[in-house]
Symmetry: D2
Subunit: 157 residues, 4 copies
């Protein structure tokens, strides 16, 4: 079973929410399990998109119980580990799609790349090395369909 | 969605495997998601029982990838956290059913009780206080059906 | 540097506190770093004993900051991981001395044995297998001096 | 006791190693405990600098034992948690000084900022928002003395 994490800020723009919802829906339509952080914003939008398409959504929460979690989660994993759960979320993913930017989101992107997991980005923050060049690794996508296509393609290569 | 963890040794007896398989099957038949450690013995038997009954099984692995995990898992969460995953497994469970005894299993039982999660036991190790009396908390079950009944009843109380 | 964890309940008896204090003092006098959970009861007593003897004490906290931690800690590691920190505490120890019993304490004992770390017990709970026999592994000590001697001896073997 | 983490790549340049060594030395001279990831490169250089100045260094390792860790650590915490230890390292720090860039280092910077911990940077990667502006939060330092001064000043504010 392919498992793809969708990561992004709890406090997101309407465009980011729409993109996350489309990503969730497309992943579900392709039969992939959607992993997310389980709370609001991009997380909730990805969960809602996947659930509406009949998909399975796993929310890996920072909290020790289900308080504040999205209603669209099929499985809820309250870790009680705080932000260390970001490491778990990307460790459990075969690929990560990032929608938008925040410190928590950036930690997930970085931990995924540290572990060698493919990362596809839809907007969000950019990372430059000390020479001002983009750090190679994250793959920018043009739109949700492109993001899902790129993520799934990386898993068949 | 009710989530019940089935915990027990990777190196188990045939009777324990049969009991775990029955527990997994009954949980699935009651619509509960089965959580387990994802490897062999009691874990694999519970997963197999639930999967055969059409249930959803989540394996929360100690390892950093899927190596050695059961083929009957619907969702795989490789934590890469070693035995600290035992804390995650019981934290994510609404109730825990313990089948048989081992140090890892005992840690799960103790962490579950520490966190206030109901624990039902089918055989396994016994815990006495310094006066030689059984420590209250774990609820012994007569057989797999009794264990599942007791676990689900605790969640409706 | 030898690192020995002292584990026991936050809610302990005066005798357990006295024993933990003596264990902490003796470990410090032997040059061992004392690890503990960092809060009250046995943890605080072990820290106080070691600190009075000029030792180094590391508190590995379940909380995300120093709230409620003992004042006798040299180093404070707030993990923010809840009870999963019990796994970290014993993983970081070369040996574990258990004073008294509680569910959290039992989880530490079990995780230590699961990982192959020597465990010395001063009172506390007892663990019997399904035949009613004591599960081998934990080494009972007669008194604090015996506990420290046994712990340090296991590290030179 | 003030605890400052020094984070940076295991595979670093000679200039980064020299900067990390100076940072470790200055922190020790100011009485701060140095936290680091415990392995090579920037981590080992910070540890060596602090140790030479008589300071206390805590290595929070990703591995389950001391294999590969620096010889300059006073306290070793093998977490066995893989890269989730990055979250622990910054959680335990009152401030974080980043020297150089890598995915692991970036995850530590991001997790620290996510948790509200002050971050001072000496070189390394830069983070731009979607409009191409530097994301506010990390404080750039001119040299090791400036980095230590900025870190300690943030803790007295």
């Amino acid at each position: 079973m392919t498992q793809v994490a969708v990561c992004g800020p709890a406090d997101c723009t309407p465009d980011e929410a729409a993109a996350a919802r489309a990503v969730g829906r497309l992943l579900a339509e392709h039969g992939a399990v959607v992993l997310c952080g389980g709370y609001g914003g991009v997380m909730a939008a990805a969960a809602a998109g996947a659930r509406r398409a009949g998909g399975v959504v796993v929310g890996i929460l920072s909290g020790r119980d289900r308080t504040g979690s999205s209603r669209d989660l099929t499985i809820v994993i309250p870790t009680g580990m705080g932000e260390a759960r970001n490491a778990l979320l990307v460790r459990a993913a075969d690929a990560v799609i990032v929608v938008g930017g925040s410190w928590g989101t950036l930690s997930e992107l970085a931990l995924a790349r540290r572990g060698g997991t493919p990362v596809i980005t839809l907007g969000g923050w950019r990372i430059l090395d000390s020479a001002g060049e983009p750090v190679p690794g994250p793959i920018p996508a043009a739109d949700p369909a492109d993001a899902v296509r790129l993520a799934l393609a990386r898993l068949q290569g």
